[in-house]
Symmetry: C2
Subunit: 320 residues, 2 copies
């Protein structure tokens, strides 16, 4: 039904909440209609400032994102929020179950909030998050906030979607967080020390400063360190100013364009990997053919590399 697809797209672009919600669901469950819709919407996307917010559990990311969204709403920008939940690939159960939140934004028609769970998705969460950003951009969001926990590969991949990445830390976290920082220091364009009214905030700031002095950066930006008390909405205006500074910086030189190029290259290659696999899977491995191959490997009659070579060889002969 191409006409209804067009209507659906028009509703999304007009900011219709139900249409947007259905669009995201279609993309998340990888329905063909979702892909068809994305194709229509894509020319309308690419205009938002995509802000990634990451940090360890308990840093106050949800509250900060909520406050920041409210701050941008003051300027009347439509705001999209994607909250990424790390979940067990075994049970699909959420590790962090605090999604009944951001209540201050609940009645605001200019804010779209979506939680996404990993659920051991083929190819990870990043591909879907990519498409959700496209939908939110087409729906007129001028700012999209992506909140991740910043621990696993998935979360780091999602952070790569952003035009700017905010790393949140808090006073009084143990050595594990110190260790974690080493891995994510380089992705941070801005640091936020949240719960800055707690003892030890200055020490965290000093640690970041000393780590920054040795951390390499591929551009000339010097990541600022901001202090906030998100629960009391303190420091949010200054954070917004810092985010806008980085936006200007990124637009004046090639930083923003380079990141977007890297992002789309990764997206294209990931999509190619996924689609090729699905095509061969559906054409070559029907009716339990894969189980016969698994049996061979399980009994150590044949090695997996030879089996895969055979499958690809057959695919070549019939067309991919």
């Amino acid at each position: 039904m191409p006409e209804s697809l067009q209507t659906w797209a028009e509703k999304v672009i007009a900011g219709d909440r139900r249409a947007i919600s259905r669009a995201i669901s279609a993309v998340e469950s990888r329905e063909p209609a979702g892909v068809a819709l994305l194709k229509v919407l894509f020319s309308q996307a690419g205009k938002a400032y995509v802000i990634g917010v990451t940090g360890p559990p308990g840093a106050g990311k949800s509250t900060l994102v909520e406050r920041l969204a409210a701050e941008y709403r003051r300027g009347n920008s439509r705001v999209g929020i994607i909250a990424v939940d790390p979940t067990s690939p075994f049970s699909g159960g959420a590790i962090l179950g605090d999604r009944i939140r951001m209540q201050t934004l609940a009645g605001d028609e200019g804010v779209f909030i979506r939680s996404m769970a990993t659920r051991g998705q083929l190819g990870g969460l990043a591909p879907t998050a990519h498409d959700v950003v496209t939908i939110l951009e087409a729906a007129g969001c001028e700012v999209v906030l992506i909140e991740t926990v910043g621990v696993g590969q998935d979360e780091v991949e999602v952070a790569r979607l952003a035009d700017v990445t905010v790393l949140m830390l808090v006073p009084g976290m143990g050595d594990d967080v110190q260790a974690l920082k080493a891995g994510v220091m380089e992705i941070a364009d801005l640091f936020v020390v949240n719960k800055a009214d707690h003892p030890g905030a200055d020490r965290v700031e000093q640690e970041i400063t000393s780590m920054l002095s040795i951390a390499p950066r591929s551009d000339s930006w010097r990541p600022p360190i901001l202090k906030t008390v998100a629960t009391a909405a303190e420091g949010i205006g200054a954070l917004r100013d810092a985010l806008e500074n980085f936006r200007s910086y990124g637009e004046q030189n090639s930083v923003r364009q380079n990141r977007r190029r890297a992002k789309w290259r990764a997206r294209l290659l990931e999509l190619l990997r996924q689609e090729l696999f699905q095509k061969v899977l559906s054409e070559q491995l029907q009716n339990g053919a894969i189980e016969r191959f698994v049996d061979d490997v399980l009994e150590h009659r044949r090695d997996p590399h030879s089996v895969v070579e055979e499958i690809i060889g057959k695919a070549s002969r019939t067309s991919v």
Copy 2:
């Protein structure tokens, strides 16, 4: 040089440490020689008891693995150890830098220790770990211990390689660990409360017991909870006994076979995904062709789904 490949394989099977080390390196860097060697070695593999040990940072996994290896060495089994380091996909730098360890095993010719780092590998770490297990099995290891941190997707995938999974916890860890447990509870066949001489060990045990009473399991095994003080080698014999109990249990019914089947199915599909992608990448996207597609998407002239359809369409016409 098929003859030298044969010699190499024979040396690996004989337990030659340099040959094993070279084999693992070849597999890690995905050299064609590594794949060729794996094909030769595969028929010799599949005989080890693969034990996964996971848990939060600071739980004492390295020490426990070291003690457990020594325990199995007492029975004269050759033992392989794979220690997985979570690393930043951005810098390649290790988060946990404590790899100068397991010194008590250093002089033992019957123990092979290998650290593996993620380094943002295409397709994650699990595929390589798979192949390293194959090499260690071919080299005569009757027991292979895989140590992971059990936080990210990568580590959980690696845990899937194991015949049995040990989840380590320690007294006095904060709420974050409580949250973490929920995600990994289901993969644990045995629980170890390490540092059991510290206050709070009984509380951790009670928490596990109460979580177990509501956790679903697809088999009839009831995961035991063991207490250890790994630094003092206390409780290691009992842990070995429990591991052997699970081994007997798994062999007497279909548990072990089902897990191995699931493992090889996942490995075959992952390998297929990777090899298909590499083939199309090398055949269709040479000489900067991908950059022209990236430009189109970056400028929002074309959407990524349509671009990927075109690439796959071309591949179909020429042969995969």
